[in-house]
Amino acid sequence: MENLYQPKKVKIIKIEEQSPTVKLFRLAPGFSFNPGQFFLLGKVGYGEAPFGALSSPYESDYIEFAVRKTGTVTDYLHSLKEGDEIELRGPLGNGFPLDFIEGKDMVLVTGGSGIPPIASLIEYIIKNREKFGNIYLLYGAKTPEEILLKDRLEEWQKSDIKVLTIAGIVSDLVKEIKIDEQNAVAVMCGPGPMMDALEKILRPLGISDRRIFVSLERRMQCGVGKCQHCTTGDKYVCLDGPVFYYDQIDKNHD
């Protein structure tokens, strides 16, 4: 019988400091995933925590994650050095609906350390650039230091991804966006202020709730739909998500 709780050991190839509290971990390859899927990273004795993969799904030499130092597991991960091993389970969850978004304009909204799954999606879009319309990335953070992946943001603009960053609230950016609202999709990933972005950007732009996808953050602990920590309404974020149509989850009590 397969043990769903059994993590795999993976070597750290490279560690890069992204901000005072965020490190980027480049791990040895061997996992294929869809942008938006997540992995549980950690070590027996310290715990596991969920992270969205941020590297390109086409990348065969490595897989990357960004880890913000916030607790026991992430303190441990931050103490590791290149050459050490991380324990990992995944990929888990559904990922973004890659077929549905094809041929559309896209508005990607995120903040702070919510960027990883969006970053992976952008790499996917760039590889298939001719299949997509106008792409906007709206990336907010409380302070400029909390903007992650700065070198990639520049790189992406060369592939006609319009990157709008702002230290403050992302909802100030609405004037700069040119999309065909009948054929546009929005993707949101990030903390609470994103709801603000929904009201102040996506609704004014005319994107309907059915075309807004949100990647939810919950306490995905078992990752296999058993432990009940990550539920919202009748959905399991670890199995049915983490990516949902906005109107699948907006009326949930939790």
Binding site: L4, G47, T72
Partner: protein
């Protein structure tokens, strides 16, 4: 099917004990689930598969719960640790009402084959609860509808948030994974019972809690049993065993709660029509 006369049960158990470890659940406060999903178990390093054992004395409600728990722990994929124990277990149930046995399993044996005393009645509470459980679709609709009902406010006042109802429920299976580092530098990961009514159950890194109040957590307990479970498995995750009612230190009676909700849900439906 093997039928044993009641007078001979103890002799039969003695015989079984010669060969296997036998757990008799008839007097237990905690339900049989603890033998397959222990209150605390080490999952890493992966423990050895246990020797074959016998769990004796489940009543009909427990047997129904076991069937459901087996299904829960199989979908969408098998839970390794549950089945590591479950597959080693021989489970023996007890039906006290031989008349009912004869009705249900008449093709296998006649009523005379059962115990002579027989006929011990299921409590009135259980019977009423099981009557409600026959329409789990209605329960799902009513509990989903009841989210803004004042009863959750009232229950949050009454409930101590202790989690006992979930521990004694044969069908509550929430758990947490907890890691430890020992002084000897040995690390381990454990799985422990958790309770969705306890504070912090849905708290994420950074401190945001998706169900910060007891009212929300208590509603979620009902929501899982009667709504989410119905959508996932087509039935309520309750078998009317009465343990939660009997063990609740605040004397909360889920049957009374459901009755109130069903009545007001019915009223709201007829109000809609008129």
């Amino acid at each position: 099917m093997l039928i044993i006369k009641e007078q001979k049960i103890n002799a039969f158990l003695e015989k079984l004990k010669e060969k296997f470890e036998v757990f008799d659940v008839r007097e237990d406060k905690l339900p049989f689930k603890k033998y397959f999903l222990p209150a605390e178990e080490r999952i890493f390093p992966v423990p050895k598969t246990p020797k074959k054992f016998v769990v004796f004395g489940l009543d009909l409600a427990d047997l129904e719960a076991l069937t459901q728990l087996d299904e829960i722990m199989s979908k969408p994929k098998q839970d390794f640790y549950y089945w590591q124990r479950r597959k080693q277990a021989l489970v023996i149930g007890i039906e006290k009402d031989t008349k009912k046995l004869a009705q249900d399993y008449g093709e296998f044996f006649s009523a005379e084959g059962g115990s002579a005393s027989g006929g011990e009645e299921v409590s009135d509470w259980s019977q009423q609860m099981r009557q409600l459980l026959l329409d789990s679709e209605l329960l799902a609709d009513a509990v989903a509808w009841s989210r803004d009902h004042k009863i959750w406010e009232e229950l949050a006042e009454k409930c101590l948030g202790c989690g006992i109802c979930t521990y004694v429920c044969p069908l509550c299976y929430c758990f947490s994974l907890e890691d430890r580092v020992g002084l000897d530098d040995k690390c381990s990961r454990c799985r422990k019972w958790d309770a969705c009514t306890l504070p912090g159950f849905s708290k994420i890194t950074g401190g945001h809690d998706f169900r910060p109040t007891l009212k929300e957590r208590y509603y979620n307990w009902f929501y899982h049993k009667f709504v989410r479970a119905y959508k996932e498995y087509g039935k309520s995750q309750c078998v009317g065993c009465e343990r939660c009612k009997n063990q609740c230190p605040a004397k909360i009676d889920i049957l009374e709660v459901l009755k109130v909700i069903l009545e007001d849900y019915g009223k709201s439906l007829s109000a809609e029509k008129s």
